[in-house]
């Protein structure tokens, strides 16, 4: 991106600013915030800085705004839309102020006075008419005044003639009011009705949009769609679990208006793995936002690979001050377990903008893993000082209490976070962890389950589910969840170890060995393949295989009665004491792990095995080593005694 010039920057800035206004016109606050942050993070090129204010003015002048438009208004380029917008301006302003006051129903009623049908959304695709729909089943009859129950008829547009902006605002506020009601009906976190409530406005919105889109298509106007309604339709479809359609509509939306970050977010949430991401990439528009999206989605899918970092570098050139991008980088480091690096980035971010609470929960996770209690307390202090009723803040505080092993308090704060935002993923997962600590497995399972429901990509929740079921001794269940976790984090040895041990428990040693071998490979992958400085797992010296895994593999072979293989793995376990051979010349680095319980166990096993094989000398040697190391001395001595006796008795008859 060396060709990124001042003119480009100016143009981009203008576009972004326009996007901010458009988002906030539609009350998409978070998207507006995101775009605004992005636009500010563009570098201030010398000549641009002086004329920054003038720029916006000139922009407004050339587009010839309608006389009554307020300062933030960018006129629509579509004359028909512009005419409609001008007509309904006062109503629009009324509706927007209602929305700002969170009076969603009232806001919707400004443009769509009649009620839309309500009820839970059925998981059918509304615009694939070939499928027979079963909508009638659960619909609440008295509300369906607008659309009568016609099964086979193509949906008709019952909406009044409105500009797309007004229509979006009206339907969006309906959606919001449904969400609000849904939250209210959910009552207590993990209460009896929590999680089983639905947004009852979805049906009405779906129908209306469906009708509107077919109508537009029929009139050949679909070319002048602005993308916002598509975005809303995508959300609604995603809620109705028709994900493929949702993806399609969201992609359509980002084609029409790429600067709506909300649409990208929804899209990335629909992607469950890297393959799906690869699949949709060609369908995406070729622009800056797609780059950012790709980066974000990859991060969400834990792809902390070199190409992704390169992508990030490129974007960083364009937006040198973007906190969003910095956060992404920190998260990438976090996924690759490079906590120090991630911590440094987050710390810098915090210093630059102390009032920023976004994604501080990740920061607190990092500090948690690093056991940096003072720092975590300080972070909690800062977050609390800014806003103590943000889910992120509650998570930070909860993490702090968790680190102090005050699990009840931690749960209290996680619950608070969830009361503030039921879709707050990390709180669900973390609460699950706390419940595990408190030995409340049922609550833990439910929490994890909710986390997974919110976001299927959260490997920690999967892993947690597996652990909980392991505690309950339901290994087949646990195996399933561990596999999910492992598929999300194929290069995390911990996942594979868990899978391996589960296979062992359900008596499938062959698979277990495979899983353990994967774990070994994954372990070495991070050690050698990781290109980011000193990123090593769990502080082990580089080039060492995990002796525990080796030992387990050996035990599995023993189970399979392949004693030779078992013995060779045992030898490998022992070898880890000294470290890899190539490090012999370099003493300072790559020393072995020394004598541990695991290696001692392996040694014991080997001693017995050798003893059984009759290789008494070797067995004696090993047993003596054991006595020297001071581990399992008694057993070793017993073995030695036994051996002596045998050797004596073996010698005397000979």
């Amino acid at each position: 991106m060396a060709t990124f010039t001042k003119a480009n920057a100016d143009h981009l800035r203008n576009t972004l600013q326009e996007a901010v206004v458009k988002c906030s016109e539609r009350c998409l606050y978070q998207s507006a915030k995101w775009v605004a942050e992005l636009s500010v993070s563009l570098p201030m090129l010398p000549s641009a800085s002086s004329s920054f204010d003038a720029d916006t003015d000139s922009q407004m002048q050339d587009v010839d705004p309608p006389p009554i438009s307020p300062a933030f208004h960018f006129a629509n380029n579509d004359p028909e839309e512009a005419r409609l917008e001008a007509q309904e301006l006062s109503r629009y302003l009324l509706a927007k102020s209602y929305f700002d006051c969170r009076e969603y129903d009232r806001c919707a009623a400004v443009f769509i006075p009649s009620a839309l049908p309500r009820g839970p959304l059925s998981p059918t695709s509304p615009n694939s008419q070939s499928r027979t729909s079963t909508k009638a089943g659960k619909r609440i009859g008295k509300d369906s005044g607008v659309i009568t129950e016609v099964e086979s008829e193509p949906p008709s547009n019952a909406l009044p003639k409105l500009s797309q902006r007004a229509l979006f605002l009206a339907l969006y506020s309906k959606y919001m009011s449904g969400e609000k009601r849904k939250d209210e009906e959910s009552e207590m976190i993990l209460g009896p009705v929590d999680g089983s409530t639905v947004n009852k406005e979805l049906v009405g919105i779906t129908r209306s949009l469906e009708g509107w889109f077919t109508d537009r298509e029929a009139r050949g106007l679909s070319g002048s769609n602005q993308g916002w309604l598509e975005y809303l339709y995508g959300i609604v479809l995603a809620k109705g679990k028709t994900e493929e359609d949702a993806k399609r509509w969201l992609i359509r939306s980002v084609h029409l208006f790429p600067f709506n970050w909300g649409a990208w977010l929804e899209l990335s949430e629909l992607l469950n793995n890297v393959e799906e991401l690869q699949k949709i990439v060609p369908e995406l528009p070729r622009n800056l936002m797609t780059l950012i999206f790709h980066l974000y989605a990859s991060q969400e899918l834990y792809q902390s690979t070199d190409p992704i970092h390169k992508e990030l570098d490129e974007l960083d050139n364009i937006f040198p001050d973007s906190q969003f991008l910095k956060t992404q980088r920190a998260l990438l480091y976090y996924h690759s377990k490079d906590y120090d690096e991630a911590e440094t980035i987050f710390s810098a971010l915090l210093h630059a903008d102390p009032h920023r609470i976004d994604s501080l929960d990740f920061y607190s996770n990092i500090l948690y893993v690093m056991s940096a209690r003072p720092k975590l307390a300080f972070l909690a202090q800062i977050a609390t000082a800014t806003d103590k009723f943000r889910p992120e803040t509650c998570c930070v505080v909860g993490n702090y209490y968790s680190l102090k092993s005050e699990h009840e308090k931690a749960v209290m704060y996680f619950r608070r976070a969830l009361t503030l935002d039921r879709n707050f993923l990390s709180a669900w997962t973390l609460m699950g962890h706390e419940y595990v600590e408190m030995k409340n497995t049922h609550a833990a399972i439910e929490s994890y389950r909710r986390a997974v429901d919110v976001n299927q990509k959260d490997y920690r929740a999967w892993y947690g589910l597996g652990q909980t079921y392991e505690v309950l001794e339901m290994h087949l269940y646990a195996l399933f969840y561990y596999q999910r976790a492992a598929s999300l984090r194929p290069y995390d040895p911990k996942m594979w170890q868990a899978v391996g041990s589960c296979y062992d428990k359900v008596d499938r040693p062959v698979q277990s060995i495979k899983a353990y071998k994967r774990a070994l490979v994954a372990g070495t992958y991070y050690d050698q393949g990781s290109s980011f400085g000193s990123g090593t797992t769990a502080g082990e010296p580089a080039g060492v295989l995990d002796p525990e895994t080796l030992y387990q593999i050996a035990l599995m072979f023993e189970k399979l009665n392949q004693l030779d293989d078992a013995a060779s793995y045992m030898e490998m376990t022992l070898a880890q004491e000294e470290g890899p051979e190539e490090d012999d010349d370099d003493e300072a680095e790559g020393r072995g792990i020394g004598v541990t319980t695991t290696t001692s166990k392996a040694r014991m096993w080997l001693a017995r095995w050798e003893f059984k094989r009759g290789a008494h000398v070797r067995a004696m040697e090993l047993a003596n080593e054991l006595c020297q190391d001071g581990v399992e001395v008694e057993e070793a001595k017993a073995l030695i005694r036994d051996m002596r006796a045998r050797m004596e008795s073996g010698r005397s008859p000979s």
Partner: protein, 768 residues
């Protein structure tokens, strides 16, 4: 603001943990411990009743106080004082997490509970790193304090804990220079290790977000917790209720500051303002505050508190003169207290009702009829029994005193009264009922006054003022001062009396009732003085002022009437005086008046008859008065009545009988130290002697002797009159002297006396 924990408490905890680490050498143990204990003990425990302790106990200690308490003690570590170690401990709390750690480690200071010990035995491990540490018993004052602090900290929500941490930072900040001396690395930001690590300075934005209020000093007041404020308010209420005083102005300001600083206001503060406005005589706002207090208190103590509200209401009504409402309220109180089985409240309200009935007999008729209390004696017996049952010693003591008073006013034996008083006194001493001692001593003093042993009465008054004034209700003090001023004025020491009146503290006079009492007493003194100086116009002015207050006490009212009659007599308006007297007498006959007052009235009646030249008419009255006074052992009144009887005798020319009578009472009269009484008795004696001289033959030795005796008595009487500055009496005596001189045929001396008479008259006029 936190509920309990404050920076001060953190400091105390640090010092406690220092103490347990055995680094405080034995020489310093006692000072350090007593410093800690003075802060840690609850206010209302017995030992902290000690005044010195209370005074030294600040609600919020500053770091300076800690420094003063610890800097002089060398610690167990060479070269360091205890203060240095304390500083080290305090500055180690260099982040919010460190604060948590600090509180977590507090548990190590305590002895383990059996369960913990068991757990440890099972789980092994968790041994203390410091073998020198002494463990605090869980129930010791320090242990309880540590436990409470830990509990409160655990209960704190995160951001409240944060507020505590933040308020601790400016609290500790003044000691930074000293800390720097010991620790070179300390800097401006060493209050938080995170800031120090990241090399941030005070002006940094992050610092501002984290410790935003540091610069502005808005956190200064956060040094007190709700608990502290509550304690403070409890102390105020206690003081106000025990002493009956008002909130000092300075304290009021302080309280307002504290409450404005965003405390969760304990509802007690409404009670304090109720008491304050009540004492200030602000009827509507005291009502308002009382109701507010009970509205806020209802929800956590529910209806059991209702009777106290009613009791307060009754007292309030009575104070503002709404007697019928007061009766209704107290009756309701009694029935609610009975319902709820609240013996304390029931006894208290019964006793209150009894006293109320004594003060306002006319209001209580209805209640009497219903037989809530029965007769006075029964009521007292009941109260005594109840008080003993529930061991309410104050009530028992006051009931005993009331019994003494009752028996005195009924004219029963003095011995009985003394018995009751002694019982009360014994009770006060053995049960340490400090605030009842005042009423007991004043009772004793008034009994002695009745017996005519005024010096004893005076001594008791002085004793009380010297020893118990500070720990007794202000009301008792005010009354005692009034009484002793009256005694002084009787001896003619007007200036001393006025000075005594001025001794009352200004704070006391902020309370309406006391200031009314005070002004009336002062007015009485002045009234009397003006009368004696024959300054009748001035006296009349004072009188009109004395009549102004709406509801003076009965005693005062009586005294005013007596003096008013005296004024009328001095004016020579005997018929009007008589009229007034009759009016009073009929009123007294209707109610049960005090014997003392009735005797006084009767004597005065005899005196009026005497003055109007009909002494024989007063004979029966005077005799009745004398016998009544004799029965009730009202000795000064008895002597006065006897004087009146002898005046009748003189008028009947029974001089020798009069002399005999008068001479027999003379010693006791002198004992009374009442100048007016002795002057009049001397004058009567002189008259009798002159009469006897008249009966003797002229030029006989007998006549001479009688005349000399008469002159002597006149001289004495003159002295007494001049002591109380009674111009008329002085003149009368001078005139009599001149006459006798003239009779003796000594015109020069007679002339001298006449001249002196004129001088006195002139001097009195000049003084006007």
């Amino acid at each position: 603001m936190s509920r309990y924990l404050t920076p001060t408490k953190i400091g105390l905890l640090a010092l406690i943990s220092l103490y347990t680490e055995s680094v405080v050498p034995s020489a310093a143990t006692i000072p350090v411990l007593s410093f800690l204990i003075s802060q840690v003990l609850p206010v209302n425990s017995v030992t902290s009743r000690n005044d010195d302790l209370l005074r030294s106990r600040d609600i919020a200690l500053t770091l300076d106080d800690f420094q003063k308490a610890t800097i002089n003690h060398i610690s167990g570590i060479p070269g360091r004082t205890v203060w240095d170690l304390l500083l080290n401990k305090l500055w180690k709390i260099n982040s919010f997490d460190a604060l948590h750690v600090f509180f977590d480690t507090l548990s190590l200071l305590l002895q383990k509970t059996p369960e913990q010990l068991q757990n440890e035995a099972e789980g092994g491990a968790d041994t203390d790193s410091n073998p020198n540490r002494m463990l605090l018993s869980r129930t010791s004052p320090l242990g309880a304090f540590v436990r409470r602090a830990r509990l409160e900290f655990t209960r704190l929500q995160f951001h409240y804990g944060l507020t505590l941490g933040k308020s601790f930072v400016p609290y500790r900040a003044p000691s930074l220079p000293q800390w720097k001396k010991r620790n070179q690395t300390a800097g401006n930001t060493s209050f938080d290790v995170n800031l120090q690590q990241d090399h941030l300075d005070l002006g940094d934005r992050l610092t501002e977000v984290a410790y935003g209020e540091l610069e502005t000093g808005a956190l200064q007041v956060a040094g007190v917790s709700t608990e502290d404020v509550k304690k403070l308010l409890e102390y105020q209420v206690d003081q106000m209720q025990r002493m009956g005083s008002r909130l000092p102005q300075a304290m009021k300001m302080k309280l307002r500051d504290m409450i404005e600083s965003g405390v969760t206001i304990p509802s007690l503060s409404h009670y304090v303002s109720f008491l304050d406005s009540w004492k200030a005589g602000d009827y509507p706002s005291s009502f308002d505050n009382l109701h507010r207090y009970f509205d806020y208190t209802m929800h956590n103590r529910d209806r059991t508190f209702y009777q106290y509200a009613l009791l307060n209401l009754a007292i309030l009504h009575q104070d503002f003169g709404c007697y019928s409402e007061a009766v209704v309220a107290i009756q309701e109180t009694i029935s609610t207290a009975r319902e709820n089985n609240d013996m304390v409240c029931l006894n208290y309200s019964l006793s209150w009702l009894y006293h109320f009935g004594k003060a306002h007999p006319e209001e209580i008729h209805e209640v009497r009829k219903k037989g809530v209390l029965g007769t006075d004696r029964e009521a007292l017996a009941f109260l005594k029994a109840k008080a003993k049952e529930t061991s309410m010693w104050t009530l028992l003591s006051t009931s005993l005193l009331s019994e003494a008073k009752l028996s005195l006013s009924h004219g029963d034996g003095v011995a009985q009264a003394f018995e009751s008083i002694l019982k009360a006194s014994h009770l006060n001493v053995t049960k340490n009922v400090v605030n009842a001692i005042g009423s007991q001593m004043s009772m004793q003093s008034s009994v002695f006054g009745r017996l005519g042993v005024n010096c004893q009465a005076w001594v008791y008054g002085e004793l009380f003022l010297q020893c118990y004034a500070s720990s007794s209700p202000v009301e008792d003090v005010v009354h005692c001062i009034g009484k002793s001023a009256f005694l002084l004025s009787q001896k003619g020491r007007y200036e001393d009396a006025l000075a005594r009146m001025e001794e009352i503290e200004e704070e006391t006079l902020q309370i309406l009732r006391y200031s009314q009492y005070w002004t009336s007493s002062l007015g009485l003194l002045k009234f009397q003085r003006h009368l004696h100086r024959d300054n009748l116009t001035a006296a009349e002015h004072v009188l009109s002022q004395l009549r102004a207050p709406l509801n003076p006490s009965q005693d005062l009212q009586f005294n005013v009437s007596m003096l008013e009659m005296d004024l009328l007599i001095r004016r020579g308006d005997y018929s009007k005086a008589m009229e007034m007297l009759e009016e009073l007498a009929t009123k007294f006959n209707e109610e049960e008046a005090d014997t003392y007052q009735r005797v006084k009235l009767m004597t005065l009646k005899a005196q009026i008859y005497e003055k109007s030249g009909l002494p024989q008419k007063g004979f029966s009255v005077a005799l009745r008065a004398a016998s009544l006074a004799h029965r009730a052992r009202l000795l000064p009144a008895l002597w006065e009545a006897v004087g009146r009887v002898s005046a009748v005798l003189i008028s009947l020319k029974e001089f020798s009988a009069a002399v005999k009578l008068l001479e027999s009472i003379m010693p006791q009269v002198l004992e009374c130290e009442d100048c007016n009484l002795s002057a009049q008795t001397f004058a009567l004696l002189a008259d009798a002697h002159v009469g006897m001289a008249g009966q003797a033959k002229a030029e006989t030795l007998q006549r001479k002797e009688q005349l000399t005796k008469a002159l002597e008595r006149i001289e004495r009487s003159f002295d007494e009159f001049s002591r109380i500055e009674d111009v008329r009496g002085q003149c009368e005596m001078m005139a009599k002297k001149a006459t006798i001189m003239h009779l003796n045929g000594d015109p020069v001396l007679a002339n001298d006396c006449a001249a002196k008479y004129l001088d006195i008259k002139r001097a009195a006029k000049d003084q006007l």
